[in-house]
Symmetry: C2
Subunit: 125 residues, 2 copies
DNA sequence: CGGTATCCCAGGCGATACTG
DNA sequence: CAGTATCGCCTGGGATACCG
């Protein structure tokens, strides 16, 4: 975690963000439209609320997502991508493309079901 | 970790590879030339041998790096990128570019030293 | 609805020591 | 040199319960 002799690695900072499965999923799910807390949670394979909250806060801190609270009853909170977050989409797409080219062709070993398309845990339409 | 209702997420498989700080570092350090075990270890901020070995094996399993053993005394093992691994470089470069654009400009909070350039833990020339 | 608060556990990672 | 073995910490994340 620490590069004592050198300055903090650029790549390391980025991996802290992109390297998390959950962060990537959140960003990806927000690519088309803003979503509410529960909508996100349901789309992400039932991730528990503590975990998703933590990652949402992280992403908000990095100014990758925008959190908008509507003072209503019942409460409504909507998350959306910022410009910074949107700028990450090409990278995620590149990752998916890479995965489609190489992982689907020869899955290595951990391949139990048929290859996915460009989808990420699409569960509920 | 498990998408019970959907097929295994493509993105999740990829994040297992790209999402690891160590894997990214290894790939990045191998971008220009093949390196020996110790060379890699020294460049990576003194990562301990157990950890690096594990990640090297993982990457080898995914056919992202190539491990070549020379039957000599003392032993020599060289690691290099495969085509698959090389195909990841544009993604890492995109990540670095994104980080350069956004993280260096406004670091958020975890920013203790001056921004890094396109470097990754460059310690010993 | 959109979270916090607790508890708990697997495993990622460092430190250290040893080996062919 | 290139690892393996062992120990032990600490965090990420699941389960569950509760709250404004």
């Amino acid at each position: 975690m620490k590069c004592e002799k050198a300055q903090k690695c650029n790549l390391e900072n980025i991996v802290d963000i992109i390297g998390s499965k959950w962060n990537l999923f959140i960003i990806w799910h927000l690519r088309t439209k803003k979503l509410r807390f529960t909508e996100l949670q349901n789309r992400m394979c039932g991730i528990n609320s503590k975990t998703i909250t933590r990652h949402l806060r992280d992403l908000e801190g990095f100014m990758i997502i925008d959190r908008r609270v509507y003072p209503e009853v019942p409460p409504r909170v909507e998350y959306s991508l910022t410009e910074r977050g949107t700028a990450l989409l090409p990278i995620i797409e590149a990752m998916l493309e890479w995965g489609g080219q190489y992982l689907n062709a020869k899955p290595g070993e951990s391949h139990d079901v048929e290859p996915a398309k460009e989808t990420v845990c699409e569960m509920d339409p």
